[in-house]
Symmetry: C2
């Protein structure tokens, strides 16, 4: 992620840095594995003291910390390392906003394997891996997701809870489809003491969601419906159905099929609330949402980051009368609210 | 390599992008494997026409090209893709400056394996791989290097040839140690019709150098000395010994040992010319030279990017009276000239 040297004529530095970009991931992963950022937060600030704390070689720690400094994740003055404001907040395990666990999913062996056969995926138009049909259970993958990715959900989960009118505390019933860590539904329940949540996901994944429901003291209003989102009985009478980061795994007919089941589970006037990467029509902006298509090409048979027009059409076909798009501050995804 | 959103408060985008930086390497690799850049240079400019040319799925090509556009390697206007000035020069195989082959070495399975065990390398203070002792032959690695990395040598090779006074055409004898593709010595011979080159490297690697000597019409003045740079007979009477990208693989005593052999092979007044990544004393600047230490931690038992003071000391211990440092325009390495 080194910045290019500003220059008027083309130079190959950015191409070179992209050819070795995988080294960036591995360096950050090693630093997280060895908990270097937390060790610095705790006062160790030389290669020697960090090596002692991390039970590693001083030479190895020196080279790694120098690299992290070059990439802007640490500062170095007179041989002493310090956290940057960014790493103090997001990579230090004492920080409530720490995102370190996310590397376990984002750079998991599964994800690397998907990208390791990207050329083949481009040839086929879908993943070259065996796990590309996400209507089937891939519990190991999604338990990893549930264990790793909860930290990133906070701003989006608060935004979704607001959309359910959680602040007013009106009794409500919400279904959290593909709940994962459960934090979207759990945040609704935390914010609204009169909300009851039913969570759908594969059985092993729901165990993680249940732990979180206990941790956030909403377990008495939290039930689970283990199984496939395409087959398990959803029940009915829901005011809200939350669909966070699920549609992108599937082709359009499969998305419509799911959304028809959602429609049937809602009360009249109920709403489906979708959190998704929604690129513009040009499919190259905004960058994080548009780039997500590649993750789906690498890892799914037919998933994609769909445009708003595509979602409007799918959700209309599934029986929703109106869908509106809502940007979420500080989050690469957007929210779609679909009305019955 | 996405740019961070400029903002006054810390945001996790750069950390997130580093966690998935390996995807950047894989995307560029897939585009090079499928020769997308050359296909665009040849006039294909839609996902459909590129897919036909690359024998790939239109959907896969669309998603890959959109990603390359997001990352600035392509432009996209009204659904048509175009090369950027950078990709036209450095990624299009019709361009004489094309660097595409470099990904075969920079992101080779060997390099990925080295970085895949980086945490263990930091713990040990040296590579966790079996191939970390580079005094031993690792011919498969270095044949790959010789086949892939020649394009990057041009500016540095011209600079080195200038240092040998090639323009004057005075008869001279040069030894190219760890010649690899041979392009450093071959450039001296190309520029000076009265130069004779002897190249040292492992036998299979020298086959690549010999091919290049034929290609550049200097084979009649090109001889090879296959074997270890620490054991093979160098011969004597050399005006120049070229040492390009070799010292960083070894610890300091091993570097000194090699440089003593070099000293003995030079005529009085002869010069050793070293091309190396030379970080400043702070070891975190300049970025590309300083970052190279991590590559050596990942892939060697005890190699490093040494500072100028370290080289001065090593080369002094090996019997050289004076070493000077020379920056090379457009190249992350620098040149050290050591006088007998």
């Amino acid at each position: 992620m080194a910045a290019s040297t500003p220059t008027s004529r083309p130079n190959p530095e950015r191409i070179f840095n992209t050819m070795i970009a995988f080294q960036e991931t591995e360096a950050l992963k090693a630093a997280i594995d060895l908990d270097i950022f937390t060790a610095i937060a705790d006062g160790a600030d030389t290669a020697a003291s960090l090596a002692a704390k991390a039970v590693a070689a001083e030479r190895g720690v020196r080279i790694l910390c120098d690299f992290l400094t070059i990439r802007g994740f640490l500062a170095k003055v007179a041989g002493r390392y310090a956290l940057t404001p960014e790493s103090a907040i997001f990579l230090n395990r004492h920080s409530p906003a720490c995102l370190a666990s996310m590397i376990d999913f984002l750079a998991s062996p599964w994800s690397r394997r998907n990208f390791g056969t990207l050329t083949e995926a481009v040839r086929k138009g879908g993943t070259a891996s065996e796990t590309g049909d996400h209507t089937k259970p891939n519990e190991e993958i999604w338990v990893n997701f549930a264990r790793s990715m909860a930290p990133l959900t906070v701003p989006a989960a608060e935004f979704l809870a607001d959309l359910t009118g959680a602040a007013e505390g009106k009794p409500c019933k919400a279904l959290d489809v593909a709940a994962g860590h459960g934090m979207f539904g759990i945040t609704v329940a935390k914010r609204n003491p009169n909300a009851r949540i039913a969570a759908v996901d594969w059985p092993a994944v729901l165990e993680v969601a249940k732990e979180n429901a206990v941790k956030f003291a909403v377990a008495d209003r939290y039930t689970t419906r283990p199984g496939s989102a395409f087959e398990v009985e959803f029940g009915e009478g829901y005011d809200y159905v939350l669909l966070t980061n699920i549609f992108h795994h599937f082709d359009i007919p499969t998305c419509e099929k799911l959304m028809r089941r959602v429609r049937a589970a809602l009360i009249p006037g109920g709403k489906a609330i979708t959190l998704e990467f929604v690129p513009n029509e040009d499919r190259v902006t905004p960058p994080m949402a548009a780039a997500f298509s590649l993750v789906m090409l690498a890892g799914t048979d037919a998933g994609d980051a769909y445009t708003f027009a595509q979602y409007e059409n799918m959700f209309g076909n599934a029986g929703f009368v109106k869908t509106t798009l809502h940007p979420v501050p500080d989050v690469p995804q957007q929210v779609l609210v679909s009305e019955t």
